[in-house]
């Protein structure tokens, strides 16, 4: 069968199978975390942590330790630094985040440029999922599993933290610990994800699936399931597109996610932009004099 051939042909290559496993694993971990990040309003924090790990990755390669250790140390360090500067100045949070992560990113670039022979900057920035070694594959799988296990075990506390931090505090929960936990998990999922799509695009995997799922449902559990489903589909589509169209894997995966977001944004009922436009036009046609109430018309009332 042609389709079967089409699907299995890339998997004859070991490096593509590994790429597929790494991308799907990283995407699932990021998608689960993205549901909390977008509700906390921490998207920029994800961007900051991902950029801030660059010096850690570079140093890890130079010293010869697993890249994930260096990345995690600098990701967590960036979070701590942002916290310190925020609590000791009157600067707005986004300002502090901007100052800290660009400084660390520049430090990373400086380190890489001073040791050009050892590190391929493009691989760190844009991912090198086709060149993943077995050791890196296991790092991704183990860190991903740990992150996922902790997130799912503490999911109700994290949701409460995002929804009503004051209540969490008032019933005696340690909200500082929970915030730190979520930031630590964010740093871990950046470490997991950068192997697949690189430092620059890892933040897309940490925002877009959750954002897409949010447009589709008003239930958090369904949001989690949808985000994972969307990201797995987009990862597979991205890998195959990358193989057959010969484009960058990281770019293809992120583009696939963005494509799903765009479609959902336009057509998802009842919030889709197209449906709202259509409802306005229909109600205008029916009663040209009456004022159109976009939100009041029941979805699919005329069909």
């Amino acid at each position: 069968m042609d389709l079967l051939n089409w699907l299995t042909e890339p998997l004859q290559y070991g490096f593509l199978t590994r790429a597929l496993i790494v991308t799907v694993a990283a995407a699932v971990v990021s998608a689960v975390l993205s549901c909390w990040l977008i509700l906390m309003g921490w998207s920029l924090m994800g961007d900051a942590v991902s950029h801030a790990v660059l010096p850690g990755v570079a140093l890890a390669y130079i010293v010869g330790i697993p890249f994930s250790i260096g990345a995690f140390v600098f990701g967590a360090g960036a979070v701590a630094l942002i916290g310190v500067v925020r609590s000791t100045t009157k600067l707005k949070p986004d300002t502090v985040i901007g100052v800290v992560f660009t400084a660390l990113f520049a430090a990373g670039l400086a380190i890489v440029s001073s040791t050009p022979s050892q590190i391929d900057l493009l691989h760190i920035l844009f991912g090198n999922v086709l060149g993943v070694t077995d050791g890196e594959l296991w790092q991704v799988l183990i860190l991903g599993a740990v992150t996922l296990a902790v997130v799912l075990f503490k999911r109700r506390d994290l949701t409460l933290l995002a929804f009503d931090r004051t209540h969490a505090h008032v019933i005696g929960l340690n909200t500082k610990f929970l915030s730190a936990l979520l930031l630590g998990l964010l740093a871990l999922s950046v470490v997991v994800g950068l192997q697949a799509v690189g430092i620059i695009l890892v933040v897309a995997m940490l925002i877009t699936p959750g954002a897409t799922a949010f447009l589709l449902t008003r239930s958090f559990d369904r949001m989690l399931v949808l985000a994972v489903g969307i990201t797995v589909a987009a990862s597979l589509a991205g890998i195959y597109a990358s193989y057959y169209l010969d484009i960058s894997t990281g770019a293809a995966v992120v583009l696939a996610q963005s494509l799903v977001f765009t479609v959902v944004y336009l057509v998802a009922r009842p919030n889709g932009v197209l449906w709202q436009r259509l409802r306005v036009r229909r109600s205008r046609r029916r009663s040209p004099s009456a004022e159109a109430h976009v939100g009041d018309a029941p979805a699919g009332a005329v069909s």
Partner: protein
Amino acid sequence: MSTLSAAPPALRATNLTVSYNDVRALDGVGVIVETGSICGLVGVNGSGKSTLFKALMGLLVPAAGTVELYGRTSREARQRGLVAYVPQAEDVDWDFPVSVADVVAMGRYGLMGPSRRASAADRAAVDAALERVGLAGLRRRQIGELSGGQRKRAFVARSIAQDARLLLLDEPFAGVDRSSEATLTTLLQELRDEGRSVLMSTHDLAGVSQLCDSAVLLHNRVLARGRPSDVLTPSNLALAFGGALEIREP
């Protein structure tokens, strides 16, 4: 005197002083809420009501003064689940993907294990709380799909599920229509009558006279406190509201 053997009040704040930079938000504020009573906290925006709530809940550390809840520190009281907070409408993300039942279940988290998995007792408490505030039929709605009054009742149901002894309500009647206001008033009176205590901040002066057993008039310091009729006098209100308020006699 019997004061030594008497049970401590639900809330006793003494000499609370809080400054933001150079501005005194609270200046030597003392508040007492007796067990089984409703106390109204009245004051304009910026009079320190929110700051007082934060200090009572241990969200900020006062420069001076003490907070005792049922004779315990705020921290002990919180860890024992004695206190519940019903937030102001604008402090809640109404688009958040949680159902009414999810919100009420959050009242039980302090009583659950580390993963907050609900036991049969937890589920029963949530059901009972929803039933009690008349939201059992709307339990699966997303929280933002409720009306203003229903939203307040959902958060009060969370306090009931928690079995909190002291309820702190921030502007419970803001954005609530007349009939919902009556429902909420009745609910708070029932909770008071079963021995719970309430401190609520409000702009609604008529509501304070009807509902509250005591009132505190706040303007960064305590202007008056005691029975509502003694506190909400035209001269006191002129002090608190700076003459900007048209005073309607009840």
